[in-house]
Subunit: 279 residues, 2 copies
């Protein structure tokens, strides 16, 4: 099964397009036994148990490498373990690494993500061009490769919005994604920029090619689910993923008296429902 | 001592501006005992011993993360060990990670590079803008931060050369580097594009700010030392680093009968001499 099929299959199976970000912030994890890595692994095992028990599912999960790597080997061991657990439970894993290097180096990064960690998809930076993307697609042709396109952060415009004779840089990147097309290549587009999302979606839609979007920025960053869904619903929305991390991970903070895993699953269900109501 | 001072001090101490890339390719390492990580660590320990013994020095070393990460924990343990050994021997370490993520994630990456691995400098991607650079400078104000500017690879123009009303994207990135200025911020510019190097160097020179360049692409990639030095010699060349990896690491292949460490040191000396002859 290639990545496009995996996305559609899991959307149907889980009745969800939510990507659950697994971004551990140690001081927000209400478990205090063991090393940082052990606490992180236990935290996400708790959420996974609750997901399975309550039958409230995400469509994918997305650990961000940085949050684990800051704790050294101990953190990366937790990452390895969590990826294994969520994949074994049937959830595709997008490893958010934003790699961007060339040739042999890109090949090495592709082995790190797909062989060592066993991820289904990665995030990649386009700045170094096709040399930094193609080794991932060539060596692991059935995975997902989300290219940073228009990111959700405040200063994303510093480079991405530079005007190039009437068109910003990020739309050139969208066209490059089409030039570089291989099934499974996708784009990261922030929910915080709905107009830009619409433009990018229109370019991909007009191409006739299936380009899965990974959309961060709803929840704490302020992006609107309704605005995102208005864009996605014009095409095959099952291809896409809306990411939420801290609003689900640490939902216990807004649910006094509720255990962290139940609060996380409650927040996941609310986001699934909010998206479902837009369809 | 801040990073600018460290660069000048080490240039003077070692009479070199060579950055020795530590990029392990397992099949090229002529040692066959132990795990991949053990073979890699032994290989670079052998070169370090020879460097110290023959008193032929690089000015910095630059391990590329990808080559280690592909072997999982075992490879990253080798990376951690090698960084510790070269730093203890007095060589500044540029950790080539090309990170590019925002806010808390960038903070986590800065801790990975500077706390966990103990590097002196990192490489960073500019695509996500200032949010992805500033946490490194804010949390670790005395280190080096090399921003990808015009990279040495064939497809670097895909994004970096997009024309923006008469000027390519990479020159905007050069100006952003000046906007974002903090002592230690630098730029990665490939030796394979000497005209672009000259333009970037002119922008930095005109600003009056000290912007260290990290210049890959000589040796196997085909960049010319003489052309690079013509540009560098117009300013304070002690700030800059010319990187060479495989041509030094695997010089034994071109020196039949010579042990790998002696061949590496011989190639390092030749590059130091070639650079020195241009001054």
């Amino acid at each position: 099964m290639n990545y496009i099929e995996l996305l559609k299959t899991t959307t149907d199976r889980y009745n969800s397009i939510v990507c659950l970000g697994l971004d551990p912030v140690l001081e927000d994890i209400p478990l205090d036994k063991g090393t940082p890595g052990e606490r992180i692994a236990a935290f996400y095992e708790g959420i996974l148990d609750r997901i399975v028990k309550e039958k409230v599912y995400p469509a994918s999960v997305k650990p961000n490498y940085a949050f684990y790597a800051q704790y050294g080997f101990n953190g990366l061991q937790a990452l390895h373990r969590i990826i294994g657990l969520y994949r074994a439970a049937g959830f595709p894993v997008i490893l958010d690494v934003k790699r961007g290097d060339i040739g042999k180096t890109a090949e090495a990064y592709s082995r790190e993500a797909f062989e060592f960690f066993g991820a289904d998809a990665v995030t990649l930076s386009p700045y170094m061009g096709y040399d930094s993307i193609s080794p991932f697609m060539k060596n692991f042709p059935d995975r997902g490769y989300y290219i940073l396109n228009k990111t959700s952060n405040k200063s994303s415009g510093d480079i991405q919005d530079i005007d190039t004779r009437g068109e910003p840089v990020f739309l050139h990147v969208s066209r490059k994604i089409l030039d570089w097309y291989h099934p499974g290549i996708g784009a990261v587009v922030g929910a915080t920029y709905p107009e830009q999302l619409e433009k990018i979606s229109a370019i991909f839609g007009a191409s006739g090619k299936e380009v899965p979007l990974l959309i961060p920025g709803v929840g704490s960053q302020g992006g609107s689910v309704a605005e995102v869904m208005k864009v996605l619903a014009s095409g095959d929305w099952r291809l896409h993923r809306i990411n939420s991390s801290s609003a689900i991970n640490y939902a216990y903070k807004k649910n006094p008296g509720m255990d962290y895993a139940s609060a996380a699953v409650k927040a996941l269900k609310e986001l699934n429902d909010e998206i479902g109501a837009c369809l």
